[in-house]
């Protein structure tokens, strides 16, 4: 730099080099921010870790900006601040999820064993220890299964109509109503089935009534995701099949649907995962029971979300019922996670190579 030639305007020439902070500097600044926050906490007598964490985060961002401006320059400093803000937001978003999982596992593992999964509450009162969730698991699986059997064919065929055939007013109306249905609160779906199936038709509380409400909640999700997947199939595949002299319905059945089956399955599994945890319609329609009821079409059944609710409501915040509720919650999360993993596995296996 000392022997650099001077330009025509007399200003110092631009250089391509710039100073950079060392790679370990973000960690050092973070450590420094935490130390300062702890010291401030001691001085101002604050010991809530959330408050201290927030102070440390703010100090980190400010410190990064200040130090980077001094060493690297304005632009790099802004870049670092943006990066740290993104990281902070990410941690803020992930923290509740991690905390939820941690808490559920911690509380739920206490009661979770094979006996718990294979017995019902038939001989155990809510205040006593023992008992299990077999009846609730059975109820949830049957209700969700029936809802899937009803909602999936209706949903997939509606999506096929909307993408492959629908052109005019009917298709627009169907799309509109499907969009509206995506937003139906679950308790409204439950009330609808309650008034229609149980009060007017007088069919009585049963697992199937719950399935109907769950199917209403599930169908718009299936329609929407299937629609998106079908639209992703390139038109040239349809044309290739049509040009071979294959009728349109066979083209859809044998070419379009198999090509998109991975994505459709994922969409269905996500819809199933959503309705597995719906409590409100189950509360209104399935009524709950302590005994094992394998027939979803007759008599009240149990269900996992309903069981969790009832156990917690009868527990006053501690005791056997409280522990059972947590264990049931852990089981519910495990079931949903297994469904999600199965969905991803199917999507990967079936995807066009």
């Amino acid at each position: 730099m000392s022997t650099a030639p001077v330009t025509a305007t007399g200003a110092a020439p631009r250089t391509l080099r710039g100073a950079r902070l060392p790679k370990w500097s973000p960690w050092a600044i973070a450590a420094g921010a935490v130390v300062v926050a702890v010291v401030l906490g001691l001085v101002a007598d604050m010991d809530n870790p959330a408050q201290l964490g927030l102070i440390a985060a703010i100090l980190f961002v400010l410190g990064t900006y200040g130090i980077a401006t001094r060493v690297e320059g304005r632009r790099q400093a802004k870049d670092r601040v943006a990066t740290s803000l993104v990281w902070v937001c990410f941690l803020l978003a992930v923290f509740p999820l991690a905390s939820l999982l941690w808490e559920t596992v911690r509380q739920g593992v206490k009661d979770l064993d094979f006996y718990f999964l294979s017995h019902s509450m038939g001989v155990v009162a809510d205040t006593e220890t023992g008992g299990g969730i077999y009846h609730a698991i059975l109820g949830t699986l049957e209700q969700v299964g029936l809802a899937t059997v009803v909602a999936v064919p209706v949903g997939v065929l509606t999506a096929v109509y909307l993408v492959e055939y629908g052109r005019g007013k009917l298709a627009q109306a169907v799309t509109f109503f499907v969009d509206v249905m995506t937003g139906i609160p679950s308790i409204v779906a439950g009330l609808f089935v309650l008034s229609f199936w149980i009060l007017i038709l007088d069919m009585g509380y049963s697992g199937f009534a719950g399935s109907l409400a769950l199917a209403i909640l599930m169908m718009p999700i299936v329609v929407r995701s299937t629609e998106e997947m079908l639209k992703l199939v390139p038109n040239e595949l349809r044309e290739a099949s049509l040009a071979l002299g294959v009728p349109k319905w066979r083209t859809i059945l044998k070419v379009v649907l198999p090509t998109s089956i991975g994505g459709i399955t994922t969409g269905i599994m996500l819809a199933v995962a959503r309705i597995t945890g719906e409590t409100a319609p189950v509360l209104l329609l399935v009524w709950g029971t302590n005994f094992i009821n394998t027939n979803p079409f007759k008599d009240p059944q149990a269900s996992l979300p309903l069981y969790i609710y009832q156990q917690y409501a009868n527990s006053a915040g501690y005791g056997a019922a409280y522990d059972r509720a947590w264990a049931a919650a852990l089981t519910l999360i495990a079931i949903v996670m297994i469904l999600n993993l199965v969905a991803r596995g199917i999507a990967r296996w079936k995807s066009p190579r």
Binding site: P234, L237, E239, G245, P247, K254, V255, K350
Partner: protein, 258 residues
């Protein structure tokens, strides 16, 4: 069993917009006819009217007659699906069915149409792949996915798929434009073999390819921007490229526009 095509007064619309107007021509059986012309002049649109694919596009509509050995493809009571079984098509970009193996791809036309004997499938697939000059390259991996082949191989796979149903006419819409020169050469050699069995119509942007491959050439053009495309001249390839009758043809061939 190749057939002859007679087109008279063909006009094609997209909704209310007229894309091509009043086209009349004859294509002899067992010959290769090339359609050339500048972009947007309606060559591909016209090609798609020959196997009733034009009406698959929303708003597509055709007026006029297309006679396949004296049977009007647009006559009353004619089933478009049956027409497409007799007039096959190969597209610009190779499009093998992604969920099917090579064997299933070639057999797709037969399987999806329903009338086939399971025992004959193997023979038909082998015959079609040999006809497309692909058999030696894939005979050991017929069960692998069709999308695992190179571009040129995929296009030959699509040709094998098209000829497996034994159409009377084979339409090819710029089949080599997405391929490298070596694959293009392979496909051009293939076309000169296939013309022994089928009537072939090929749309191409590449005039040298038209000169190499075709027996007759048809030149299409627009009268002006926004006007429908028209058939300007159709003649033996040698005469079109050495001594065309219409000035516009001569201008296009010598590169004064296009």
């Amino acid at each position: 069993m190749a057939k002859r095509i007679d087109v008279s007064g063909l006009t094609a619309f997209y909704g209310s917009h007229k894309a091509i107007e009043d086209i009349s021509m004859t294509v002899e059986p067992r010959s290769v006819t090339a359609f050339i012309g500048p972009s947007g002049c309606g060559k591909s649109t016209f090609l798609r009217t020959l196997n009733r694919m034009h009406e698959v596009t929303p708003g597509g509509r055709v007026e006029g007659k297309v006679l396949l050995d004296d049977e009007d493809l647009y006559g009353a009571g004619i089933d478009p699906v049956a027409v497409r079984r007799d007039v096959g098509m190969v597209f610009q970009r190779p499009n093998p069915f992604p969920t099917m193996s090579i064997f299933d791809n070639v057999a797709a036309g037969l399987r999806l149409n329903g009338n086939y004997k399971k025992s004959e499938l193997g023979d038909v697939v082998e015959k079609s792949l040999k006809g497309a000059n692909l058999w030696n390259e894939v005979k050991d991996r017929l069960n692998r996915p069709g999308s695992g082949l190179s571009g040129g191989q995929q296009q030959r796979l699509c040709i094998a798929r098209a000829i497996a149903v034994e159409p009377d006419v084979l339409l090819m819409d710029e089949p080599c434009s997405a391929l490298d020169p070596i694959s293009t050469l392979a496909i051009e050699d293939l076309i000169s073999e296939l013309k022994e069995r089928f009537t072939i119509v090929i749309v191409t942007h590449n005039m040298q390819q038209a000169a190499r491959v075709s027996d007759r050439t048809a030149f299409f053009n627009l009268a002006a921007v926004g006007q429908p495309g028209r058939l300007i001249e159709i003649d033996d390839t040698e005469r079109i490229f050495s001594n065309p009758s219409v000035q516009a043809t001569e201008d296009y061939i010598s590169g004064r526009f296009g």
